[in-house]
Symmetry: C2
Subunit: 151 residues, 2 copies
């Protein structure tokens, strides 16, 4: 596999976990045509290669977000980067395309991260009656409370 | 990247596009622990390597589903397998885990397809106010009408 392009962020110091930020993906010149029609979608999945993960950091089990108050679970039950294949997957909002540059909201990838694929979100991708574990409900509640505080 | 396991289907003749079918993923023995806790999620994203795609089949633009009555669009605006990196992404329903074997509904991958990653679906993955192009609305309407006919 070869990267189809790279993530570009406004600065290397940005908090990549802040989903309100806008970042760019610069697509390889020879693939520009493959973007035609992407502007008709509101949401894209970005699949990227988390090249900053070191071999020794990879784990079979983790505490979600490194929090020891949450249960130790298998990495395939989390979105941790420390997984056998460091492939990232993020649903982003598509904002704008300028030639070979896409402007996206919500991409939690570092500056210069190699991108492997872009896929438009369609109705098959909308899960219905989603069930999640208690630890994730807690994390989502915390995030919600935090967002309300800063509103 | 190395596969974390393989897709197993009831038969090689199954219609992989039939999302009502149940298939299995057999995870590598050395990664069994990484599955712990996955049973608490209702939905998973499966990322797989579409190893049957030939180099010469890869395209920059395609007619969705090969239908020439639909516009020619860039492959990144479609879910075609004929893309620069033949990486598949499917949201599936998690049904059951038996040791290193997962039973899933809706996986549109062929028998023996190498699996690269499994990610649980959480609330970040639910797109809101999804906008899709007219050609995809048409395909979704056709599918809906077809489903009603066979009900």
């Amino acid at each position: 596999m070869k990267s189809i392009g790279y993530v570009r962020r406004a600065s290397k110091e940005e908090d990549v976990k802040d989903r309100s930020l806008v970042s760019k993906i610069v697509i390889r010149r020879d693939l520009v045509q493959a973007l035609d029609g992407i502007e008709d979608f509101s949401h894209l999945f970005v699949i990227f290669y988390m090249d900053k993960v070191k071999e020794k950091e990879k784990a079979l089990k983790v505490h979600p977000r490194g929090r020891t108050d949450l249960p130790l679970v298998g990495v395939f039950a989390t979105r941790t980067a420390f997984r056998p294949n460091p492939v990232g997957l993020t649903l982003v909002e598509f904002l704008e395309r300028r030639d070979n540059v896409l402007f996206l909201k919500g991409l939690d990838a570092f500056d210069k991260t190699p991108v492997l694929d872009l896929k438009p979100a369609d109705s098959w991708d909308i899960p219905k009656n989603v069930r999640i574990p208690g630890w994730l409900e807690l994390l989502e509640k915390e995030r919600h409370d935090e967002a309300r505080k800063t509103d």
